[in-house]
């Protein structure tokens, strides 16, 4: 559908020339086959639209998992100047701090071979998932506020996990500047009921095995070994985040005319970072991010409990350890060198993962010699990749890499294609046990609906923004 012509820069990058009211050009990370897929939807147009926003620095970027979203493309990265630039709730997304965390265990595949079904059933029973589920953790008014301020730290204090987990969580599981006063009563009410729930759609919890190691040194630093059992958790800020985004987007749409900014899409509505409205959004967004970190911390703790109980082993035998937790829907104030000058910028990552290199102070001390773990989940059948951030990401992509495989098929197309098939049985044949709340979710999320994860990851690896460390194969998956 998109008629915009891209110019090839090299094997992994395409230039979207600056035209019309675009303030900067765009760069899309893609190989030839991903480039061909871009013609099918409106995502390239969306990269161009983002380039219209005031204060955008260098380029409007897109990672190789790029696909058509609303407002920003999914896989979009854009950085804005703090003085003349903007923040856009649509550039973060409704699911604020949607992200992934990887839990490593001491177990090998052989240790659980006969227990996969029991484990999956127990996880599916214990971890609330699906549309409209409520969690075990019911928050009082006072606690609601604390979750928003303290994030994963609140969950640790409440008995879900240990302080050590915070060391390997992006931003230690709490973003600064969170102000619950800026969050609506509606958002808080929705959040009160959903803490400790997985959600629906593409959110999941997967038992995986480390299948292949590409970088021994980094794998060792991350505590990963071949044949190891790990758990990948993908969830976000649930209804609380959706409501915060919705509230601020409505507010910004209403007052857009006052800013004098002309937008090609209302969904890109934004406020200047230096304005009160912009600051209020960032303070509310930080609350959403913190809630998501608390949520994933609780989900991980429940997972550990299920493993210990089902396998009848002590915590020491399970040896569960949080490898890392990354967010992939966020706007953050970070420092970068632009044309030789150190600048603080507001980086929007909408379906993109931070990928900091070795030596960066924001990388946990235990990983600082190799770089930040980058967690890339794929479709249900493929499993995931673990990468490590590279210096080139700081120079080219504001310290960012891709976040997943990226959809290639619409949900309606996928459901149509899955009609008459048992996706669950097909997954079983591929050695992946799937338990899902709804058949339509399985159809929507079938492997063919996604791009080839290997292709996406290879582009990021070859472009030099993040390097492959390990490949994980899915053994079991629970979904909403």
């Amino acid at each position: 559908m998109s008629e915009i012509k891209l110019e090839k820069i090299d094997d992994n990058r395409w230039l979207l020339p600056q035209t019309g009211l675009m303030r900067v050009p765009g760069i899309i990370y893609a190989n030839e086959s991903i480039h061909d897929l871009l013609k099918k939807d409106e995502s390239v147009r969306q990269v161009a639209n983002v380039a219209h926003l005031p204060g955008i620095v260098n380029y409007s970027l897109a990672m190789p998992d790029i696909h058509w979203g609303y407002g920003f493309p999914i896989g979009g990265v854009a950085a804005f100047d703090l003085d003349g630039g903007v923040v856009s709730p649509g550039g973060v997304g409704y699911d604020i701090n949607c992200g992934c965390r990887l839990l490593a265990t001491k177990l090998s595949q052989g240790d659980i071979r006969d227990k996969i079904r029991d484990l999956t059933t127990a996880l599916y029973t214990r971890i609330p998932s699906g549309v409209g589920t409520t969690g075990y953790v019911k928050l009082s008014g006072k606690d609601s506020k604390k979750v928003l301020e303290e994030g994963a730290g609140w969950a640790v204090k409440a008995g879900f996990g240990s302080a050590e987990d915070l060391e390997t969580t992006e931003d230690s599981g709490a973003m600064s500047g969170a102000d619950p006063q800026q969050v609506s009563a509606r958002a808080i009410e929705r959040g009160r009921q959903q803490l400790g729930t997985l959600g629906s759609g593409n959110h999941f919890l997967e038992i995986e095995v480390v299948q292949e190691i590409f970088d021994e040194n980094a794998a060792q630093a991350f505590g990963l070994f071949k044949g190891q059992i790990v758990v990948m958790i993908h969830s976000g800020s649930r209804g609380l985040g959706y409501q915060i985004c919705d509230d601020y987007l409505a507010l910004m749409v209403k007052h857009q005319a006052e800013t004098g900014i002309i937008l090609p899409d209302r969904q890109l509505s934004c406020a200047y970072l230096a304005s009160q409205r912009g600051r209020n959004y960032l303070a509310a967004m930080a609350c959403g991010a913190n809630y998501a970190w608390a949520n994933r911390q609780i989900l991980m703790h429940l997972t550990k409990e299920v493993f210990e109980k089902t396998l009848r082993i002590a915590p020491r035998e399970l040896g569960a350890r949080l490898v890392y937790d990354v967010c992939h829907n966020i706007a953050k104030i970070e420092s970068f060198t632009v044309s030789g000058v150190q600048r603080k910028l507001c980086v929007h990552r909408k379906g993109a993962t931070r990928a900091y290199p070795a030596g960066h102070e924001a990388v946990p001390a235990r990983y600082r010699s190799v770089g930040q773990p980058v967690l890339i989940p794929g479709d249900m059948g493929t499993g995931s990749f673990i990468l490590v951030g590279q210096e080139k990401a700081m120079q080219e992509t504001f310290g960012s890499a891709c976040h997943g495989a990226g959809r290639v098929m619409s949900r309606t197309q996928a459901i149509k294609l899955s009609r008459g098939r048992s996706i669950s049985r097909e997954m079983d044949d591929r050695g992946v046990l799937v338990m899902a709340g709804s058949k339509s979710t399985l159809g929507e999320e079938m492997p063919e609906a996604y791009k080839n994860l290997h292709d996406v990851v290879q582009v990021v690896h070859d472009a030099g923004i993040a390097r492959k460390v390990a490949r994980l194969k899915a053994l079991a998956c629970i979904k909403g």
Partner: protein
């Protein structure tokens, strides 16, 4: 009567709704949203009535704000719209009486989680036959 037509969108879910009048368009859009989210089995239980007024800068903005309210009633208060009477509808303001039932696990099957009603690709247009809207939901 078919309420809506699905539009293909890679990550999200889009619908096209038509109506002879703006009131009919808005009513059908609300019922379409409900149809995507939840399915009811059998007759409705107790019904409560609620008056709603919504404002917007133009018909498209008004429609989005109306659907946002309806989605919140479901997501935030577990209330499902069975029927809605739009009593007033101009380009910037709408008043409606909603007939709501509480979500009941035994009677309702959740279908799709809609995170939000987006402004992306939004259109509300007058056609020869009446009104037509295109809306994309984030799922």
């Amino acid at each position: 009567m078919t309420l809506y037509k699905l539009i293909d969108h890679t990550a999200d879910l889009g619908i096209e709704v038509t109506g002879r009048t703006k009131r009919e368009l808005f009513t059908k859009a609300a019922l379409s949203l409900m149809d995507i989210v939840v399915e009811r089995k059998g007759t409705p239980a107790g019904v409560e009535e609620k008056a709603l007024t919504v404002e917007g800068s133009d018909p498209a903005d008004l429609l989005i704000n109306y659907l946002r309210e309806i989605l919140y009633l479901f997501n935030g208060e577990a209330l499902i719209i069975g029927k809605c009477d739009i009593t007033k509808c101009d380009n910037k303001k709408l008043a409606a009486r909603l007939f709501l039932e509480s979500y009941d696990k035994k009677k309702h099957v959740m279908k799709t989680e809609i995170k939000a009603v987006t402004y992306h690709g939004l259109s509300v247009e007058r056609s020869k036959k009446g009104w037509k809207a295109r809306i994309i939901f984030d799922v």
